[in-house]
């Protein structure tokens, strides 16, 4: 079923990637394994944003809110009420979906820059609650000692260990990828792309443009919440810092850097940013300068992202070949 969704060569590359992800990381050092786990979780977030940004063409500056809702669902429910993985997962994902459903009503009245601004403001609402509603969220203290999940499926290994948790993140990532892939390949997803290309044409063709955008927005929020649930379990800690504007912007960067509207591009972008931030800071405390340069460089040199650049390059070489042999 997944196979049908993918083209031949793409299938080969992704298959190879998957094989590497399954086989190699257990041999990594603990730190590197942790970074790859982090990258997988944030890849879920960036892929979810890709639904709005890449496929529908709306840049959201508030996507950290959904990460936050998922994360706080875990933090609050698991530390105070001893809720298990499945309950928390349900609450986190549904909670994020409900919030996205409310925010969508407000934000989707606008497009372009206005959409950007409104999502920024809505993201700040959630941040403000995390920051100030101390009796519920513990405010700036954050919530510590979030336990690692127990799936209770009779699985023999403990997710407190790094390797099993890595595989949990990998399975979650593949699930999210498949789900989003199904969405974007469906007629619904094609409509989103149509809306991105020309909203008025789709309207003339009789599509309910707003409803399509709205559903896309809610799906993105829900998957963002899913990433948040994992993020919280991974860190064992939740704090308002996860919901800051900078997180939203960074997620935008992951999508743009990898390549909008490709799903695996944003996942790649997430991996690059996570590795970059953590590995560069090992060598220099001036890593912010480099991150800043990556922001600017992405827009100047690779406006279509890494995937876009590779595509262009392969197309050019193919054309060159055709030219020389013709």
């Amino acid at each position: 079923m997944i196979a049908r969704l993918l083209a031949g060569r793409e299938r080969l590359i992704l298959g190879a990637f998957l094989l590497v992800l399954v086989v190699v990381p257990p041999f990594f050092s603990g730190f590197l394994l942790a970074l790859v786990t982090q990258a997988l979780i944030l890849a879920i977030l960036s892929m979810s944003l890709d639904i709005i940004l890449g496929y529908t063409g709306l840049a959201s500056l508030g996507h950290a809110a959904y990460l936050g809702i998922g994360a706080y669902a875990v933090g609050i429910l698991s530390t105070r009420y001893g809720a298990g993985f499945w309950t928390v997962l349900l609450v986190g994902v549904l909670g994020a979906a409900v919030v996205a459903a409310v925010f969508g009503l407000i934000a989707l009245r606008a497009t372009g820059v206005y959409f950007l601004m409104i999502t920024l403001a809505l993201g700040m609402v959630v941040w403000g609650l995390a920051h100030r509603w101390v009796s519920v969220t513990s405010g700036d203290n954050g919530i510590a000692s979030v336990p690692r999940p127990r799936l209770g499926l009779g699985l023999p290994w403990s997710f407190s260990d790094a390797v099993p948790f890595y595989y949990l993140a990998l399975v979650a990532f593949l699930l999210a990828f498949t789900l989003l892939r199904v969405v974007v390949s469906s007629p619904f997803g094609q409509t989103l792309v149509g809306i991105r290309e020309s909203e008025s044409r789709m309207r003339t063709l009789g599509y309910h443009v707003w409803l399509h955008k709205y559903i896309g927005f809610v799906i993105a929020g829900a998957v963002g919440g899913f990433a948040g649930v994992l993020w919280s379990y991974y860190n064992g800690f939740v704090s308002p810092a996860d919901l800051e504007l900078a997180t939203s912007v960074e997620t935008l960067l992951m999508v743009a850097l990898g390549g909008r509207g490709t799903l695996y591009g944003p996942a790649l972008g997430a991996a690059v940013i996570v590795l970059l931030k953590n590995l560069v800071s090992v060598y220099t405390h001036r890593w912010l300068l480099i991150l800043g340069a990556v922001y600017i460089g992405t827009i100047v040199y690779a406006p279509e992202g890494i995937v876009g650049a590779i595509r262009q390059w392969t197309e050019r070489t193919r054309r060159d070949k055709a030219w020389s042999s013709g």
């Binding site: 050092s29 603990g30 730190f31 590197l32 942790a34 970074l35 982090q38 920051h131 100030r132 101390v134 405010g139 700036d140 203290n141 954050g142 510590a144 000692s145 860190n235 064992g236 800690f237 704090s239 810092a241 996860d242 953590n278 800071s281 090992v282 405390h285 890593w287 912010l288």
Partner: protein, 413 residues
């Protein structure tokens, strides 16, 4: 005879060398993982911490128990999640022998369970979260700093008895550190006849205190107790003065409100501010005078308590390393040695750990005064050898919950 003696001595020397060598020479340098914010709002505090730690090492030939020391500084950005990632890196990738540093009580609470999981000793010279040596002790966390409420206990008594204030309004930054500093103060202040009549909690990062200052019950209070940190310590005294409160109500506070870290940037508005802390750059002892002089020569600024505690933390590791003959690889033994260290002559005074792992040390009641054109925290009174439990019995003290926003409850609000 001489020949035989020489042979014997040689044999002894070789023997000793053979015994000692494996412990010191065959192992590489001692790796120390140092966590501190190097970017973001608290970057300068991180710098003070690093400076203090490295200054001790440089003064002492960069070695612990004869083994070379390699310090790996990682940037936490002052955020728990990032601190956790960096902790992971230091332990799993760099394989450090010992960890030190960290800033902010909530970072301390976030790191502690992980430190225990890794079983690598970590010194907490700065992070003062009470419960880490009280109700949720962590085996591998060695606190060489203080608990947030430790200086507040004597200060509450001092304010009630010596200063004679009866009714005090509290305005404090709204997070664990603020709650604990205020809680300790409130407990002893009220037990000595004082009353806290109002508590205001501005959030971390508040720029404009006007909305809170306007609420202060200025007609009923004798003084205002403020707990500020980092940049808020800079702006609060000025805004307090401008709102007309300073001429009516004296400003007292937690130690970080008038920290040496901001004193050079403050003006007359800070004069007269009283606060308790485990350190003041103005402590009049030979050890501190030398420390302040050397620190200023090296970094051209006054050392803050962040610098002092990290300076002493480096020495702390050295003492423990000496006790185990440089064998930091035996972690359990090294940890035990760390917990036995006593430093009789740190710049801040004598220090040793109590049974719960928090230093027993002097608390200084300080007053901001201008001397030689600079602001200093003049020491007004010294409470020697204060424990985190003050005069209470530890097990009774531990029955009460950890100080927070609503504990002790505000009976007179």
């Amino acid at each position: 005879m001489v020949k035989r003696l020489t042979v014997a001595l040689l044999a002894l020397a070789v023997g000793v060398a053979l015994v000692v060598m494996p412990a010191t020479a065959q192992k590489g340098p001692i790796k120390v993982g140092f966590l501190a914010p190097m970017t973001g709002g608290a970057a300068q505090v991180g710098k003070d911490m690093e400076n203090g730690f490295k200054m001790w090492l440089e003064e002492n030939g960069n070695q612990f128990a004869g083994r070379k020391v390699e310090v790996i500084v990682e940037d936490t950005q002052g955020q728990p999640n990032i601190a956790l990632t960096k902790l992971r890196k230091l332990v799993e990738s760099d394989k450090v022998h010992v960890l030190a540093g960290g800033l902010f009580a909530h970072v301390g609470y976030a790191l502690a369970p992980k430190v225990d999981e890794y079983k690598v000793p970590m010194l907490y010279p700065v992070m003062a979260a009470d419960d880490l040596t009280q109700r949720q002790p962590k085996k591998w966390v060695v606190r060489t700093g203080w608990t947030s409420s430790q200086p507040s206990h004597p200060f509450g008594e001092y304010v009630a008895k010596t200063l004679g204030y009866k009714r005090v309004v509290v305005i404090a930054i709204d997070y664990a550190f603020g709650w604990e500093v205020v809680g300790g103060f409130q407990k002893t202040f009220e037990e000595n006849g004082g009353q806290i009549i109002q508590k205001l909690w501005p959030p971390l990062g508040t720029a404009d205190f006007a909305p809170y200052l306007a609420q202060i019950k200025k007609d009923q209070a004798d003084a205002v107790f403020a707990l500020m940190v980092a940049a808020s310590s800079l702006r609060f005294p000025k805004q307090y003065e401008d709102s007309g409160l300073k001429i009516k109500l004296p400003l007292i506070g937690g130690g970080t409100t008038f920290d040496e870290f901001v004193l050079p940037s403050l003006g007359d508005e800070a004069l007269g501010g009283m606060s308790p802390l485990i350190y003041s750059a103005a402590i009049d002892t030979p050890a501190n005078k030398k420390f302040v002089k050397d620190y200023r020569a090296k970094y051209t600024k006054q050392p803050s308590y962040y610098s002092e505690t990290c300076y002493t933390a480096a020495r702390w590791i050295a003492e423990a390393a000496k006790a185990v003959n440089g064998d930091l690889e035996d972690r359990e033994k090294f940890l035990a040695a760390l917990k036995k260290v006593e430093i009789p002559d740190a710049p801040r005074g004598p220090i040793k750990l109590d049974a719960h792992g928090n230093p027993v040390q002097n608390v200084y009641i300080r007053k901001v005064e201008r001397k030689g054109g600079e602001l200093w925290n003049t020491v007004i009174q010294v409470y020697p050898n204060v424990s985190q439990f003050w005069k209470y019995k530890p097990d009774e003290f531990l029955k009460q919950p950890v100080y927070d926003r609503n504990f002790p409850p505000c009976k007179y609000c």
